[in-house]
């Protein structure tokens, strides 16, 4: 089956990252030659920069405004995913010592995480292929995104998650009507199960059999940042790394923005943020760019980043190196402190992965990575209402009495 998208976008085909073969955009999801990962390739020369810019600016307030640079046409049933705020963060910037700090607040997507973006594109492809069931292996956020998108489109959904993820994430995926399958073991074991099931059932596993399309949705984070900054790239982005798909696609997005003339040439650095309990990419970067060594048993508060064998791990290290970026791995204590600092300085509540990003930015700032006048964008990819680091420290319950209030909260009032 041939996709319709070649008619409406600049898609040239799917290029293998391992062997370089260009192949048609049919049902394949890995390279037919070597099993390597395949990615959409576009004929960007067809665009006139000014016309493309105007078309985008007139487009919907969602990621589909970038449809010409996506591998599939927007489905009629789509809902507004993306086009999330880019917020200036002076108070957090002062606390971290970063002069021009911005937050890309992707916690405001329909299911409260950036995963709505890749799922939007994967789902459009699933509808194009006529699939009736979508599925995924998830550390939590993807489960909700898949479940909600399936509900919206009347599809059946199966989501497979490690049994120990945040109960809020399991509950929300189930509330959307998905069959939530809890699996004993880490994410990588869930992934293995899904790889097997993908072979036995004809379902659209968004992060497997729909992966070439799924990953493209992540480009739209940087497309938006550039547009929101007046069609210019930020100097630095700090990106949380789980599988590495988000990080690597930011480089793809930057290249496409430059190649189409949407943004001018400028220096642009991508930095990787990982928790110390599962930092295969950051460790490889900081250990002189060595190959990624998988983590056998991830142990971290940031469960959404607990992927020990990241599919785009080596790709992420390569991109960080090519963009002259850096990385950090941060402890659970640093994650808690950073998430709290963000909430109390900017009013943005994030899941622990957001704490990983803020803590990484703090480390990078203290290392002198950011220079005066440079724009720094932190990617906040998951909402704190999906499961914060721990129970909030609350004061005592009191009687409905003013004196009781003054007595119990004397310290706060002082």
């Amino acid at each position: 089956m041939t996709t319709t998208l070649e008619e409406i976008t600049a898609l040239r085909g799917l290029r293998c990252r391992a062997c370089g073969a260009l192949q048609p955009a049919d049902e394949r999801y890995i390279c037919g030659e070597c099993l390597g990962p395949i990615e959409p390739e576009y004929d960007l020369d067809i665009f006139d920069a000014e016309t493309l810019r105007v078309d985008i600016e007139r487009g919907p307030a969602s990621l589909w405004r970038y449809a010409p640079l996506l591998p599939v046409a927007p489905p009629t049933s789509h809902w507004p995913v993306g086009w999330t705020p880019l917020i200036e963060a002076h108070r957090l910037g002062d606390a971290l010592g970063i002069e021009r700090l911005y937050l890309k607040d992707d916690t405001r997507n329909p299911t409260l995480s950036f995963k709505d973006r890749p799922v939007a594109v994967a789902l459009a492809r699933a509808l194009e292929l006529g699939l009736d069931t979508i599925a995924c292996a998830s550390t939590g956020n993807l489960a909700g995104a898949v479940a909600a998108a399936a509900a919206r489109n009347g599809l059946r959904a199966f989501v497979f998650v490690p049994a120990d993820i945040e109960p809020e994430k399991i509950a929300s995926a189930a509330a959307y009507g998905a069959t939530v399958v809890r699996v004993n073991g880490p994410y990588d074991a869930v992934n293995r199960l899904c790889g097997r099931l993908a072979d036995e059932y004809g379902w659209g596993f968004v992060n497997f059999t729909l992966r070439p399309y799924y990953a493209e949705g992540s480009k739209t984070v940087l497309f938006e940042c550039a547009e929101q900054l007046g069609w210019t790239l930020p100097h630095h982005i700090v990106v949380p790394v789980g599988s590495g798909a988000l990080l690597t696609r930011q480089a793809t997005a930057a290249n496409q923005l430059r190649a189409t003339g949407l943004v001018p040439e400028s220096h642009f650095h991508i930095h990787a943020a990982q928790p110390a309990g599962c930092a295969p990419v950051s460790d490889a970067v900081l250990d002189n760019w060595r190959p990624v060594e998988p983590v056998r048993r991830p142990e971290t508060l940031a469960k959404s980043l607990a992927i020990g064998a990241p599919a785009d791990g080596d790709g992420s290290v390569k991109i960080v190196r090519e963009t002259r970026g850096s990385a950090a791995s941060v402890s659970d204590d640093e994650i808690r402190e950073a998430a709290s600092l963000l909430a109390t300085t900017e009013g943005v509540l994030v899941e622990p992965a957001g704490g990983v990003v803020v803590a990484t930015a703090k480390q990078l700032a203290s290392r002198g990575v950011f220079h005066a006048g440079e724009t720094v964008v932190l990617y906040l990819t998951g909402n704190g209402y999906k499961g914060g680091p721990e129970e909030t420290a609350l004061g005592p319950v009191i009687a409905a009495d003013a004196d009781a209030f003054r007595l119990a909260y004397e310290e706060v009032l002082a």
């Binding site: 990252r17 391992a18 394949r28 999801y29 890995i30 037919g32 030659e33 070597c34 099993l35 390597g36 990962p37 890749p118 292996a137 998830s138 550390t139 956020n141 993807l142 994410y187 990588d188 074991a189 992934n191 293995r192 899904c194 790889g195 097997r196 993908a198 072979d199 596993f205 992060n207 497997f208 992966r211 799924y214 990953a215 789980g242 599988s243 590495g244 798909a245 190959p291 060594e293 998988p294 056998r296 959404s304 980043l305 992927i307 064998a309 990241p310 599919a311 785009d312 080596d314």
Partner: protein, 89 residues
Amino acid sequence: MSVTVRLPTPLRSAVGGERTIEVDANDLASLQREIAARYPELGARVLRDGAFGRFVTVFVDGEDARFLEQNADLSTAKVVEILPAMSGG
């Protein structure tokens, strides 16, 4: 010692459409050598410089082979599974 190797759909064309193949191997190194020798088309797809490429994931009874040494004993292994890399999370 014969080991059962389970293949995903995209690789089966390399072994005449079979879902599984039986390979004589005592450890990972001999498994890779045997695949290269007996199933050259499969070997061309999954091996790089004689070892499993980084874009495939190999599991030995559910254990990621990247955590195993090349001389890891396969004599008690029930099944080796080859899967393409997946995205996250």
